[in-house]
């Protein structure tokens, strides 16, 4: 950033590319949510694509913030990454238990 608080052309291009990449992964994850055949497969789309999508958006936004704001953004991404992977596992476990119960009731 220069003295007037404006981003250089290179920083603007890099930031825009990262934001567009993040948007691409969010859109791909959302399409995966709609297209994938079962709830377990949909979890793949949400956890993987959205984690990287948010990472790219955070990296793109870091061009605009100061050190403290960037540290907080990075922490938010790490928290989302951790909570995403743990909640994916918990949701999958719950869905599998439900599925097994339904199958047991049928037999």
């Amino acid at each position: 950033m220069d003295s007037a608080g404006q981003l250089s052309v290179l920083s603007t291009v890099l930031s825009s590319l990262l934001l567009i990449t993040g948007l691409f992964f969010f859109i791909a994850g959302s399409i995966g949510m709609l297209r994938f055949p079962d709830s377990f497969s949909r979890l793949h789309a949400v956890t993987k694509a959205d984690s990287l999508g948010l990472g790219s958006i955070v990296a793109g936004l870091m061009f605009y913030g100061d050190l403290w704001q960037n540290l907080l953004l990075l922490l938010i991404w790490l928290l989302v990454l951790a909570s995403g992977s743990v909640s994916c596992q918990l949701l999958a476990r719950f869905a599998k238990a439900q599925q097994d119960r339904v199958q047991q009731d049928k037999t």
Partner: protein
């Protein structure tokens, strides 16, 4: 408890408090520290009662692990994006068991959580047995998912001090 053990405990709880403080700063934008302090003390008490602590790590293995994990994160997202956007369905979901060679319960849970960010795999449950088995949901059973999970497990074995990497002695 010897002096060195007490020192290790103090360092461990200081590190945990630091992590809590960073999480609080990230979630609240650095506000409400007067509320955080008693909450932090309660959380530390809970960690002490539940015998929770940070796993000891080999610091020289950290850069390699971060590089490996970042690469897998990008590959995983790219893989799922490609499948989601391809005109023809490119998935063949299946349940697959994976025999875990990590011995500690905490390491196994870490593996189960991280597997969900790897290309094409999602952990569901750890079934205790001989050996312990990780039940995985695989997005495409035709891919070499086993190799990727084994590579992550190997990286974790290198990273965590309580584990012994394959081909090494304790």
């Amino acid at each position: 408890m010897s002096l060195s053990q007490s020192g290790a405990v103090v360092i461990c709880y200081s590190a945990i408090s630091g992590i809590f403080a960073l999480c609080w700063a990230a979630l609240t934008g650095g506000r409400g520290w007067w509320f955080f302090l008693p909450l932090c003390l309660l959380l530390l008490l809970w960690c002490n009662l539940a015998k929770l602590s940070l796993p000891p790590v080999r610091f020289n293995a950290v850069p390699g692990f971060l590089l490996f994990f970042s690469r897998q994160l990008v590959l995983g997202a790219w893989d799922v994006a490609k499948r989601a956007l391809s005109p023809a369905p490119r998935w063949a979901p299946q349940w697959q068991p994976y025999s875990i060679s990590l011995t500690q319960a905490a390491s196994q849970r870490l593996l189960a959580s991280m597997v969900s960010l790897l290309p094409g795999t999602c952990a569901v449950n750890i079934e205790v047995g001989q050996p312990d088995v990780l039940l995985l949901h695989v997005l495409d059973s035709n891919t070499d998912w086993h190799k990727a999970v084994a590579a992550l497990e190997q990286q974790l074995a290198w990273l965590l001090r309580d584990e012994t990497a394959k081909g090494q002695t304790a």
